[in-house]
Assembly symmetry: C2
């Protein structure tokens, strides 16, 4: 049995050998992790209750393994500070070649980096069950190259129903194009824009560098729009921009919802100039307080490309995304994608179709929404009175506004706590005319349940 | 229950409603298919025995449904010519919008187009079982974006063992890069070559236009090598070519194995010029008569990029391929692929890893090899004395040499039989200095078992 202990951010695998007894196996796995440095000195372990729940074993088994390692000096246990890796457990330089499993962020025990859902929440049983039904029902030709670059019709039909119902998207299966996640979709669109001789795309002043780099790599300049409490400033967009990339439902990362006036403004711009609006609806499923905010695409399906993804609602590891493409641009997008669907596994497409059709997708989103809302409420309560919190009506992250001049100190303090967290400035477009703001972007969806309390505690301890 | 009837090439779905009784459901599905034109007039149906086996129902049920439709005039049954769709069953123009499920090759009842395995042979139960074990064992982080552009280490380790054992590849998991099939791998390599300022790639005089187009699309000229009974002519390669694309184990489509002397020649060329050899090992698993022919890559792992795929051994719909990249080129390939593994589902990668590790992959390849060998033997027996057959020591296709001047007539005759088949000239590089050859490329792996006899009969009837 191999279990990942995502608690530690750093991709720690506990190899629990079935034959050895769970306690002995767990103790040895922890010993090895401390010995090798995979668990850094000072790292706080999850409570025996949480870890037992995560691993699906008895709490006593974990408590006994912890006690054994405390006795050996690998761990320390102190009232109030929990169980931690002892300072004496210095990493020993391994003589063997570099391990294949490289931790994503060595040295960080906790992560509040935004962009990833709680991977421990992936609905393994329900997914497998959908895969079983999908495999049994799949026609033989589903295992072939696929004759439609849009991808499997079963998934496009299931998505059309879901997107219309849940996101107010004007979705016709004929105009849905499946892709390997948002980035793949954006890459295709960037190439379409270049083929149209577009040279410039307007992007939000705060956003992901990965997306800006991708556009630049395709030969497109990015022009920064301002971003304020009402979302991106979509008024006064220039005609030179051939497209606008937007996160209308929940601006990433500041968290605002684009106001109706600005929605109208960007659609008007598109109608006047013939430009395209690229709507990145990355976390539209997760809205907590107010009425659902529908997709911008509904305003003008002939001007807006809607881009959705399973990366936040299910898991990035599925590499599943979808575009709803305006009819006038469909042929260009399909020509760019190629004669066949080279990119996504047909079985995964059929499984997701069955997952949606059977209602499992709705159930999963509802259950995760409750989990994230609880965390959001705990986050707000924990920092209240010390820092300002915004962007919390939706999504898996929030922005904490720090007292001016304290950001650097907060980041240093977080690093000392073993907490990976990014400042708002990390997401700033180099040319953005936005006021400097001392703030942290807190991805509270990221930690697994067992690590949530400890991660929140590390964050609170980092604040000024 | 939805069943695909791949017999008909044209992607016919039989919607068998569970509650209606199988006979009535099957009859109605066939009636509807004939009425709508999805089954063209004249199309020969599989024998009741084959179809019953395909659908997993009793033979009598099929025979009764056939009899019912003959009585109604939808089908005709004649001694010696089997059951066919009647001429009176003219397609009726549908009033509703164009159907979403478009047949890949309308009008063809049988296909011997090469490049696809028998999709009916996909090991659904064993694959699902591997998926179940893989999902249960997957660490949480497997559901994340993935921190290694090479893809999951579990699959790279399983492939390294398999490729060394089965294909003689010098395979180190550190140098294996997973990709979404061969085309994705070739696209990455083409961009790497362009970044190296390579302008020309030598390709085989017979090969796939898709591959040549892809190289051209990346800005690379292709230069045609000659192809004869000893494979591609790799002697006298010019220094200007920055790479050579080869199918050494089983030249596609002529079927020759590259001789030892020509293997040595191409490796010498690579050592002298610093060029890369791209080894397309698309069907290396399927060798029938002689000793296995190992991969060229084993001769010089620092000069040869080995490319393998699950598209022939399992199914193209999985979109799974792998490259073993020479150490000196690894960083370039990874930089081109990107910071994370954007392309392939981590769950599929883990499932394939488990599928290989558990021995299911070996079992599947063995069983399909027997199936394809039986077909090859039947093909050879059926055409013997009428045309020459070559390229049959391995793979899923053969070349039938026709008497000079008869190719066009054979193709016309095949079309009249409803048989999709391609001439050898279809695969010829426009600049290739190869002698014109009247020949058909026969993908005998393509038909599902139930259609094999009828497809072979259609082929034989098409020959001069």
């Amino acid at each position: 049995m191999t279990e990942s202990w995502a608690t530690f951010g750093a991709d720690l695998h506990l190899e629990l050998t079935a034959g050895r007894g769970l306690r002995a196996g767990l103790a040895e796995a922890l010993r090895e992790a401390a010995r090798s440095g995979r668990l850094a000195p000072g790292t706080r372990l999850p409570s025996s209750r949480s870890l037992a729940a995560d691993l699906g074993i008895a709490r006593n088994t974990v408590a006994e393994a912890y006690a054994e390692l405390v006795a050996e000096g690998w761990l320390t246990a102190r009232q109030g500070s929990g169980t931690r890796v002892a300072q004496r457990a210095r990493p020993r330089r391994a003589a063997q070649p570099a391990p294949l499993r490289r931790p994503a962020r060595p040295g960080y025990a906790y992560s509040l980096l935004p962009g990833t859902p709680d991977l421990g929440g992936f609905p393994r049983a329900a997914w497998l069950s959908a895969a079983r039904r999908a495999l049994a029902a799949a026609p033989n030709e589903a295992f072939g190259y696929g004759s439609d670059p849009r991808g499997r019709v079963e998934l496009r039909e299931a998505l059309a129903g879901y997107l219309a119902r849940a996101r107010g998207v004007y979705a016709d299966p004929e105009r849905i194009v499946l892709c390997a996640g948002f980035v793949h979709g954006l890459m295709l669109l960037a190439r379409v824009l270049r083929a149209r001789r577009v040279r410039e795309v307007a992007v939000e002043g705060y956003g992901l560098d990965v997306h800006r780099d991708l556009l630049a790599g395709a030969g497109l300049r990015t022009r920064a729009m301002g971003v304020d409490g009402a979302g991106a400033v979509t008024t006064g967009l220039p005609a030179e921009a051939g497209a606008v990339l937007l996160t209308p439902a929940h601006q990433f990362p500041t968290g605002a919802a684009l106001t109706p006036a600005r929605r109208t403004a960007v659609v008007d711009w598109a109608r006047t100039t013939g430009g395209l609006v690229l709507e990145d609806d990355y976390d539209g499923e997760f809205r907590y307080d107010r009425q659902q905010i529908g997709a911008l695409q509904g305003l003008d399906p002939d001007r807006v490309v809607y881009l959705g993804t399973a990366s936040k609602s299910l898991a990035p590891g599925l590499r599943m995304g979808w575009m709803v493409v305006p009819a006038p641009a469909l042929d260009e997008v399909l020509a760019m994608k190629g004669r066949v669907d080279w990119t996504s596994s047909a079985l995964d497409q059929l499984t997701l179709a069955e997952f949606i059709r059977s209602g499992a997708y709705d159930r999963h989103v509802r259950s995760m929404r409750m989990r994230y809302r609880r965390r959001r409420d705990e986050l707000v309560a924990a920092v209240s009175g010390r820092v300002g919190v915004s962007g919390i009506a939706a999504g898996l992250h929030a922005v904490l506004d720090l007292p001016p001049g304290t950001e650097r100190e907060a980041l240093r303090s977080a690093a000392w706590q073993g907490l990976a967290v990014q400042p708002l400035s990390f997401f700033r477009h180099p040319d953005a005319a936005v006021a400097a703001r001392d703030a942290l972007v807190v991805g509270y969806g990221t930690p697994p349940n067992s690590a949530w309390s400890a991660t929140l505690a590390a964050l609170v301890a980092s604040l000024p």
